[in-house]
């Protein structure tokens, strides 16, 4: 899956205006075999001061459930425009969500953090269950979440 985040490209600074100044980063989020309905998963970027920069991906297409991704909602204001064009199906138990995003060089190794919120209907809501710094040195190193995420890794 290759994503250019067209909407954010125009508004947010973290995506390169020109591909030459950007790098392809692959985010892999593998869920535990929790055995329930598909999980809603939001990946988004905050800066060093905790300020929202933009959403990388929203897995789950029923907007009425987005409120259960509470940190994402708080950070982004819950605006649907934030996920326009970057939503997909929810992620099944034990499955992996793999996305590739072009990210501006200026955002890498600059104190930004990737947050992952998850939520399962009739299960738990896990705001920011993964918080991983966007640093090249962490490439390919898995981090565990404390909710449904078994492992999360970014590959630069």
């Amino acid at each position: 899956m290759k994503l250019a985040l067209p909407l954010l490209a125009a508004t947010a600074a973290f995506v390169a205006p020109l591909i030459a100044e950007a790098r392809q980063v692959t985010f892999e989020t593998t869920l535990k075999a929790y055995g329930g309905n598909g999980a809603y998963v939001a990946l988004y970027l905050l800066d060093g001061a905790g300020k929202y920069k933009g959403t990388l991906w929203m897995a789950g297409d029923k907007t009425k459930f987005y409120r259960h991704l509470s940190d994402w909602t708080r950070a982004s204001g819950g605006r649907l425009a934030e996920v326009d064009g970057i939503t997909g199906a929810s992620v099944g138990s034990g499955k992996t969500l793999k996305i590739t995003v072009d990210i501006a060089d200026a955002l890498i190794d600059a104190g930004y953090k990737v947050h992952v919120d998850t939520s399962v209907e009739d299960g738990a809501d896990n705001p920011s269950e993964v918080v991983a710094p966007l640093v090249a040195s962490a490439s390919g190193k898995p981090v565990a979440g404390d909710g449904y995420v078994k492992s999360f890794k970014a590959t630069f």
Partner: protein, 720 residues
């Protein structure tokens, strides 16, 4: 149109409905199961107290939720990953890990999406709309066939599939409408077709002061656990984070330091509607309601099957061969049939006319055209649908009638059910239209009650007379399966007054099921046309008992009167559910004359519950044809019969008819009718007419009329 829509939607949705209904029935058990697992939360503990108790046991608590299934759960992390446990809502004590039932989860998924994701969800949503359409059109059709919206509670009559479809459909109607309407709404919210429901409070930051003990936060102490939906605790590492407290009233943000409510957003109207829809659809916390929905849903497959049977029965094209081509025919028989039985009568008529030398052609009433008018006459056989509506094969008839070029002589024969208030209503509409348009009458219009072969034969004689030929109409709907019964007893009355009536009792090795008031059809040797007699006994009496009046020249009655004990007859039972006392303890007024006493005596005999029963009997002579005299005296002593009034038309000094007794007892009868009494009349047509006339004057001061009593089943006639 209404019916076509109903049939089409029903067939298309049948399979989907079965799958969705089956899972729905399973899910309807969930609230009851949940309630057993999680008792209702009793008020008295505040959210602050509960949170304090829970927080004392864990390093980090993320959220406390009161789930849809009634369980109170806590998600926490004690360093070994995030876990969810159930807690006691009063003490906060842990009750072990919380787990959803995989069975119910699977059922819910199958019910909502047929395990096929969004494609399945769309299919389910369309099915819900289809079910809604079926419920609405079904209710309208039922009301129409029973005679209007106010008649929706009347007994449903007709063939078994039709009766079951109507009775079950009526019971399930409310549940199915609620289920389908809420399902359609919930689907619309899932696909974002209705505005977003939740109304989040404005985001605010906490005061940033040191966190106070949870148990002392005023904003949390003010809310009872019984009202809680969800409490999200502030993140540990963020001083500005707040408590998010959601209740059925709305969502509040509570400062972790001061305990004050920083902002509050009441539940929006859309959210409230959404919650109502979910509760109405799933049963929410009311398990009896959920079971009611489940039962209604379980009716859906039964309705599908009975509906399919009705549809197939209607579709089976009657195999009727026209003996002559339209352009050669002198007589055209036009048929307005609903279930196909009128085509059978048309076939019998067509054969008899052909035998009598006529050239006959047949057509559906809907197909009437100018080509038919080159014949010398039309014979219209018209059934009625519901309360005077056109049957299936006659729906366009009246529209086409006015545009025809010529007028030729017409005979109209109506088929209907006398127990309906508007007997042969459609045939009467046709007669009125024909008269208004100046069509010459070939014959006075007649009406046939419940497919009576005798009445049909009589009409055939009249038609033959009008055509100058002899017409013998021996109509057999279908020769029924008979079994043998042996005559075991007889009493003969009325010989002295010239009106012999025999009470005949028959036995069989295994008696079929029947009740007093049902009919027995008897085939006399050499005849295919059964004669029907009302039964005076029930299966439990061990004999089949009838009263047979000797008809001068009557084939069957003469044969029965000459039958000797030990001889056998071929007979079959026909249900007669339209002539039966209502259940319960309300009084019965039974009125009968001559052999019409038979079913009434049977009702008295079966009155083990000793409900009040008042019998009026009319005969000719007390000494000669007082049928059941001794048995009725015994029943009076047993209190199975409350009062008995008799009238004898040849009494030396007190000659009277049964209607005279009815008139004399007007005051008493009025009291009984005010007390919800039901009236059952059995006997000859003349006597029934006189009784009806008398009763009309009896009930008028009550603001009632017989048509109204008839329509709600409180005045029943079995007339021959």
């Amino acid at each position: 149109m209404l019916r076509r829509l109903h049939s089409f939607a029903g067939l298309a949705l049948a399979l989907m409905l079965v799958a969705i209904a089956a899972t729905g029935v399973g899910l309807s058990l969930k609230p009851a199961v949940d309630r057993l697992a999680s008792p209702a939360i009793t008020p008295g503990v505040s959210v602050a107290i509960l949170t304090e108790a829970v927080a004392a046991r864990h390093q980090r608590v993320d959220a406390i939720r009161v789930r849809g299934d009634g369980a109170v759960t806590v998600s926490f992390n004690d360093g070994a990953g995030k876990k969810v446990e159930r807690v006691d809502p009063r003490t906060g004590a842990g009750l072990g890990a919380y787990q959803q039932s995989p069975t119910f989860r699977w059922l819910a998924d199958a019910h909502r999406s047929l395990l096929m994701g969004d494609a399945g969800r769309i299919a389910v949503a369309l099915t819900a709309l289809g079910l809604l359409a079926l419920s609405l059109t079904g209710a309208l059709m039922l009301a129409r066939s029973l005679g209007g919206a106010g008649a929706l509670l009347r007994p449903v009559r007709g063939a078994a599939a039709r009766r079951w479809h109507g009775e079950i459909g009526r019971l399930a109607l409310a549940g199915l409408m609620l289920s389908s309407l809420t399902a359609a709404f919930l689907s619309a919210t899932t696909f974002g077709l209705v505005p977003f429901a939740e109304n989040p409070p404005p985001v605010v930051s906490a005061s940033g002061g040191p966190a106070a003990p949870v148990g002392h936060l005023a904003g949390l102490a003010a809310v009872d656990v019984a009202d809680l939906e969800r409490l999200t605790l502030p993140a540990r590492d963020e001083a500005t984070d707040v408590f998010t407290l959601r209740t059925s009233m709305g969502e509040a943000l509570v400062d972790p330091s001061t305990g004050g409510v920083l902002s509050f957003a009441p539940v929006s109207t859309m959210d409230r509607i959404d919650r109502w829809a979910i509760a109405l659809h799933t049963g929410g916390s009311s398990w009896p309601y959920a079971l009611f929905l489940g039962l209604s849903t379980a009716a859906a497959p039964v309705l599908g099957i009975t509906g399919f049977l009705m549809w197939r029965r209607r579709r089976v094209a009657p195999r009727v061969m026209a003996p002559a081509r339209i352009d050669e025919a002198d007589t055209i028989i036009l048929v307005g049939s609903e279930g196909g039985s009128t085509w059978g009568f048309a076939q019998t008529l067509s054969r008899a006319l052909t035998d009598a030398g006529h050239r006959v052609s047949l057509a559906a009433m809907n197909d009437i055209e100018n080509a038919h008018l080159r014949a010398q006459r039309l014979v219209i056989l018209a059934a009625t649908y519901g309360d005077g509506d056109a049957p299936a094969s006659a729906r366009r008839f009246l529209d086409r009638l006015g545009n025809l070029e010529r007028r030729i002589p017409v005979a109209v024969l109506g088929f209907g059910d006398r127990t309906f208030p508007n007997f042969c209503g459609y045939a009467q509409k046709i007669v009125a239209a024909l008269d208004a348009q100046g069509w010459p009458r070939l014959l006075t219009p007649k009406r046939i009650d419940r497919g009576s072969a005798q009445e049909f034969a009589q009409w055939g004689r009249d038609l033959g007379a009008a055509l100058g030929c002899t017409l013998t109409l021996e109509h057999v709907a279908e020769r029924p399966k008979t079994s043998a019964f042996e005559l075991v007893g007889r009493e003969t009355y009325g010989v002295a007054v010239g009106a012999p009536v025999a009470i005949l009792r028959f036995a069989a090795r295994a008696l079929p099921r029947f009740e007093a008031g049902d009919l027995v059809g008897i085939l006399a040797p050499g005849s295919d046309m059964p004669r029907f007699y009302s039964l005076a006994s029930s299966q439990s009496d061990g004999v089949l008992e009838i009263c047979v009046r000797l008809q001068p020249g009557g084939l069957c009655s003469t044969w029965l009167h000459n039958l000797r004990e030990g001889e056998r007859i071929e007979a079959f039972i026909r249900d007669n559910p339209t002539f039966r006392p209502v259940e319960g303890r309300s009084p019965l007024i039974l009125i009968g004359a001559g052999s019409g006493i038979a079913p009434l005596a049977g009702f008295v005999r079966a009155n083990e519950a000793r409900r009040p029963v008042h019998l009026y009997f009319g005969g000719r002579s007390q000494s000669s044809d007082f049928l059941y005299e001794h048995e009725l005296a015994e029943r009076l002593a047993q209190r199975r019969l409350t009062t008995l009034r008799t009238a004898f038309s040849r009494h030396p000094f007190d000659a009277a008819y049964v209607q005279d007794r009815v008139a004399a007892d007007a005051l008493r009868l009025r009291d009984l009718i005010r007390g919800e009494a039901q009236i059952l009349v059995c006997g000859g047509r003349e006597m029934a007419g006189a009784v009806a006339e008398t009763l009309e004057t009896v009930v008028r001061p009550l603001g009632l009329d017989l048509a109204a009593l008839k329509s709600n089943g409180r005045y029943l006639e079995d007339v021959y």
